[in-house]
């Protein structure tokens, strides 16, 4: 069994599902979230992504792409969370959001270097 391929399939399916179920949730509020959180797909994607990059020899161009996609997804989530709970920061809210968006990219960069 080629676990790298299985993990990659799992990773991209989770990422695709995350987008699809988020879109459904946005179009019909409560459709997904009344049963489970659509963010569970992101958690699964991160877990599978970590497993996929566990062995250095498994890392290739597709893995790099996966890291980038994860960074974008986390950036979107962090941005939403920072914007929602950052209201009291007033004029620092925009700066706070910038930090929230950039942080996942920095983390992914560190992972790629490691």
């Amino acid at each position: 069994m080629d676990w790298r391929t299985v993990l990659r399939t799992g990773y991209f399916t989770s990422v695709g599902s995350y987008f699809a179920f988020l879109l459904l949730e946005w179009l019909k509020p409560g459709f997904v979230s009344n049963v489970f959180s659509p963010h569970l797909f992101l958690a699964v994607a991160i877990a599978l992504g970590i497993l996929w990059g566990w062995k250095k020899e498994w890392r290739n161009e597709k893995y790099e792409l996966g890291i980038q996609v994860t960074a974008w997804l986390l950036g979107y989530d962090f941005d939403w969370v920072a914007w929602t709970i950052g209201r009291p920061l007033e004029e620092f809210r925009v700066l706070n959001n910038l930090v929230a968006v950039v942080t996942p990219f920095l983390i992914c960069r560190i992972i790629q270097r490691y």
Binding site: T5, L24, G30, N34, V35
Partner: protein, 486 residues
Amino acid sequence: MYQRLLQICILLSPLLLLLYLLRIDINPSGVFEIRQTVGELSPYIDRLLPDTRVLGVTYGDGGAYQLVIGEPTYLSIHPPGEYETVRVELMFQNESQPIIEIGLVVNEEPLQYTLEPLQNLVLDQSLWPSLEENGITLFQRKQVYESITAFEADPPQRSTIATFHHELAQPYQDISYQPTGLLSTVRTSLRGYHEYLTYIKNEPLMLQTAFMDMNRQYGDDPIELLAVNENGEIVGSTRVEDDGEIEATQQGSGLRNTSLVVSDLPEGVYKVIMKAGRDIFFRSLTTRQRYMTFVGPVFIGDEVGYRETPSPVSFLTNGKHLSFETYHADAAQEVTIGSDTLLLPEAKVRYDHEVLDAGLVSVSAEAGDFFMTGDGKVAFMRSQFFNPDPVRLSSITNLDDLGIDFIIAEYTSPEKVGDWLKASAMFELSDWLKKQPDIKFVLSAPNITNLQNEIRVHEFRLKFERPPLDSKNFLNKVILWIGELF
């Protein structure tokens, strides 16, 4: 081989999940049940509010509960789709609160709800002999009737009957009634929609109104005056169109008049509905009828743009559970209610008041501009007050003082389940409610604060129902569902 199979399973799993969610959302069975024990999170049921009337979650031997110490409290529900009916079941403990009711909010502005009983300790602990038929119970001080059918066929005097969530089968008749033939005029400003009851016997129904369209909100403001008989049938109507100004100019239209006259009506109680928006201020109501008794909310209008100095307001009510709200900050004032007073210091805040005086009490204020809801009727002259309805059993009804010998109730006592009492109420969801993203319930416990009582609320269970879908309807529903997304 296994790897391919595993990959196919992974790829199919979101699709299966989507079908599962679709099945939950469309729900072909037509039945959807939700339950929430207090303290638990539910996507469909919010917690009981406000916090000033409901204390935090406590964990006892029988499980979690919250103490309700004020009223009303509100429960917001996010329905899982469009359903015809909802049954609400409450698990609770109550030792001394006389009446607990639950209501469905059917209109937010003004706040209107339909109440159903959950528990009535007055009836549960009554020592009077009782009869039960088809969910209706008759309590008699002394056994007079052998059955409820016999009671309905030959009822006693209305003044000796108290009802609880039950309408008497026999219509009201006032044998001693004689028409006055005289005109009487109410000169209190009434704002927007109102309803009043009157009695007709060998006379035409007559109402003349002088009104102003104050143009404070955008939109046209037609007026309809409707006469409705006891069967709910419209027996006469008149309509006046808007003054032609639909913008919110804040400029009053000047006094206009309209009247409703309906002749040849059989003897009985009639309801007159004054259907109008909040821009319409009825400045005077003239009638030839003896009685003009208002039911439902009463909105005493301000007199800005009508009189330079607002005139004092006074009326009478038999309500014992009143709520007042004013909409303008400069209308903060004190209202005298019987031997008591109530301060309305803030605008857009509801102030509740329990009337402890018996019978009809007078309510007066130095100026208008307040909205009053209550559990009784209102008249602007003592001679115009009549009550065609029997006494409604409330937490403070004194059966001996009122000479009540019979209580007829549509009520079933709560069932004991473990440490808790279980009571339920069924509500029909109107077309308007079906379209709402949220529906709201009111938990009413009249006088709970004054009596220093408490209710331990443990769990809510809701059962939504509508006819089940067959396979053809299910497919149509799926297509509609996809269409609704975009």
